[in-house]
């Protein structure tokens, strides 16, 4: 066994050292890239933490000054510097719940139409149209609600409600007073139109996960289309439906611009749905830049903190229910 020729030896060492240098560079880049992605991912957590901390920090003066009373008082008076969150919280909850009452049946109908009823040539255009409704920015809903919907409701719907539902016992109180046009009811209708596409998109995606075999067994037993939907599709996708509804509710609770235009911004609780009110987000949007004094600003941030807590609970519950679904199917929301 002779020694390898000199030249070959040099080539070998060169190749070996190139290999180590190359590998080292690769490992370094790998570390860099992996670190960058990890940092970016952790930033998402930091963002949420930052939101929570900054809200607590900003809201602290108001919470410590008013204590628990902040949640239970209706007063909102910048002159005497006294603030309570009851009216905006009430307005937020009532408009959102009313919006859901309107939006859920319509979304359910749209989802059924898109999955079970529509001929295939109609499915895609209608689906896209509904998704485009979701892409329309909320301020457009606001300006439309103020200039188009509110006058229509004022002239044609509210007088009718006052005349026919006003005299009724119990629910009559909800429809007292003059037809303002803007107010809680109008805000709810605008919100309902806004969340429609979100809820129907989730419901449609959930309905599509129902195995065909289940539906076919229903049809095989002689069930009508509606019976298959109501007794097979709906029970199978119950969790997803509730998740979709909660997701829509989360949007409605936090929606700002669409509501700010049509709610009337009145800090009081009125039993009538026709009178002006306010919501948390509308109060912040309307008053934050004009708020003078630390306590006023802090009270508005405190309202924001309350909104964050409410929406966080609703959204987290919704996401938890939707976890089991195919995530890809939900990428539009």
């Amino acid at each position: 066994m002779g020694r390898p020729p000199f030249a070959l030896e040099i080539m070998n060492t060169a190749a070996a050292s190139f290999d180590t240098r190359h590998a080292a560079r690769q490992r370094f880049r790998e570390m860099l890239f992996k670190g960058a992605t990890l940092c970016a991912a952790l930033l998402v957590l930091i963002l949420l933490g930052g939101v929570v901390l900054s809200l607590i920090h900003g809201a602290w003066p108001a919470f410590s000054h008013f204590g628990f009373g902040f949640l239970t008082r209706e007063v909102w008076n910048p002159v005497t510097d006294e603030y309570g969150a009851l009216a905006p919280v009430y307005g937020t909850l009532v408009t959102s719940l009313l919006a859901m009452l309107i939006a859920i049946p319509i979304s359910f109908g749209i989802a059924i139409f898109l999955t079970e009823l529509a001929p295939s040539w109609l499915k895609r255009p209608v689906g896209v149209a509904v998704e485009l409704l979701a892409a329309v920015p909320s301020i457009i809903f606001g300006i439309w609600g103020l200039f188009v919907l509110a006058p229509v409701l004022q002239r044609h719907v509210q007088p009718f409600l006052i005349e026919w539902l006003g005299p009724l016992p119990l629910i009559g109180k909800l429809f007292h007073g003059p037809p303002f046009g803007i107010g809680v009811l109008t805000a709810s209708v605008v919100l309902a139109i806004m969340v429609l596409p979100f809820i129907s998109a989730v419901m449609r995606d959930v309905f599509e996960t129902v195995p065909d075999v289940l539906k076919e067994s229903g049809y095989g037993l002689g069930a009508t289309t509606w019976e298959v939907i109501w007794k097979v599709v709906v029970p199978y996708s119950r969790t997803g439906i509730v998740g979709g509804i909660m997701l829509g509710l989360g949007r409605a609770l936090g929606e700002t611009m669409a509501v700010t235009f049509v709610i009337g911004n009145a800090h009081r609780i009125s039993p009538s749905l026709l009178s002006p009110g306010t919501t948390i987000s509308a109060s912040i949007a309307n008053e934050f830049t004009e708020a003078v004094g630390d306590l006023y600003t802090s009270s508005l941030v405190a309202l924001g903190a309350l909104l964050f807590v409410i929406t966080f609970v609703v959204i987290a519950a919704a996401r938890f229910m939707l976890l089991r679904l195919d995530r890809r199917a939900l990428s539009s929301v």
Binding site: R29, E30, F33, K34, T37, L38, A40, A41, L42, L43, V44, L45, L48, G50, V51, S54, H57, I106, S107, F108, G109, I110, I112, F113, A129, L132, L133, A135, P137, S138, I140, G142, I143, I193, S200, W226, E227, I229, G250, R251, G254, E255, T256, M257, T260, F261, I284, A285, F288, T289, V301, G304, L307, F308, F312, I315, A316, R319, R327, S331
Partner: protein, 281 residues
């Protein structure tokens, strides 16, 4: 026999109602678009794009607001997109299946649907108060915070669509993960990622609430990123609620402009997905 008839009637009524519900949904989309077009087109003129927002009563345009919207949307996407893409990459590749990434995914989903006005308050607390004044920069960062969760979500979804076999082939050639991701996975998912970015731009260019008390507004032409800047959505808000007819007209024209831009972006994104084969919806 009677029972059979009842079932048939129930069926027809229920299905009829669902078709009606769809008609109602489409009616509202049509009504909103029609209102925008009929009110907005009237105000379309050269002045709209060449003059700044006027004082009440006199004529003008929305040039400074258009500029402000473009600038702040760009800031938002330039900051938000890389962060969102990297985080999405972590969730889809390095952290796939780990406990940390399921927590991050959940938090990201919560941020995705969190009220945008909260983001405005957050940026006000950490940037505007710190800097001492409202600024376009703060507005752009607020938009970035909204763009990040959208980009994380779409990037992760799109990377997951890349066939495992392609990744395995690259790994078998001795490539490190970063090489596989940047040279194989990103190009394969390109159309999907671009779609995600378009959707993020569409989402933030119509946002109003986060800009209200970060970028505030500016009646005049300004390119100073450290000062207040006008934006289309905020101007629409202020002008629509004003009592002046010409301001309301500007609001309608601005609204038409914003909506058309966003709808074009969304439709382009959809076409990009179906053409690029980035996944079937």
């Amino acid at each position: 026999m009677n029972r059979r008839l009842m079932r048939k009637v129930t069926n027809s009524v229920a299905l009829g109602l669902s078709a009606l519900a769809t008609a109602v949904g489409l009616f509202f989309l049509g009504a909103i678009l029609w209102t925008l077009i009929s009110n907005g087109v009237a105000g379309m003129s050269v002045a709209l794009f060449t003059q700044n927002t006027p004082p009440p009563g006199s004529a003008g345009g929305i040039l400074n607001a258009i500029y402000g919207s473009v600038v702040m949307t760009l800031i938002g996407i330039v900051i938000g997109a890389p962060i969102g893409m990297l985080a999405g990459t972590y969730l889809a590749e390095y952290g796939r299946g780990s406990r940390l990434s399921s927590v991050i995914r959940f938090v990201n989903d919560v941020l995705l649907s969190a009220p945008s006005i909260i983001v405005g308050l957050f940026i006000y607390e950490i940037l505007v108060l710190r800097m001492g004044h409202f600024s376009a920069l703060a507005g752009g960062v607020a938009l970035a915070v909204i763009a990040i969760p959208v980009t994380v979500r779409t990037t992760e979804d799109m990377l997951n669509l890349v066939p495992q076999g392609m990744k395995d082939a690259s790994t078998a050639m001795g490539a490190y993960p970063w090489r596989t991701i940047t040279s194989i996975i990103y190009p394969a998912a390109r159309s999907g990622i671009v779609t995600g970015l378009l959707l993020a731009v569409a989402r933030i260019s119509g946002e109003t609430a986060p800009l209200l008390f970060t970028a505030l507004n500016n009646q005049f032409w300004s390119t100073n990123l450290r000062g207040p800047m006008a934006s289309l959505p905020v101007d629409i808000f202020l002008f629509a609620l004003s009592p002046y007819k010409n301001w309301q007209q500007l609001a309608w024209s601005g609204a038409l402009l914003v909506t058309v831009t966003i709808l074009i972006l969304s439709i382009t994104a959809r076409i990009a997905v179906s053409a690029g084969g980035g996944g079937k919806r």
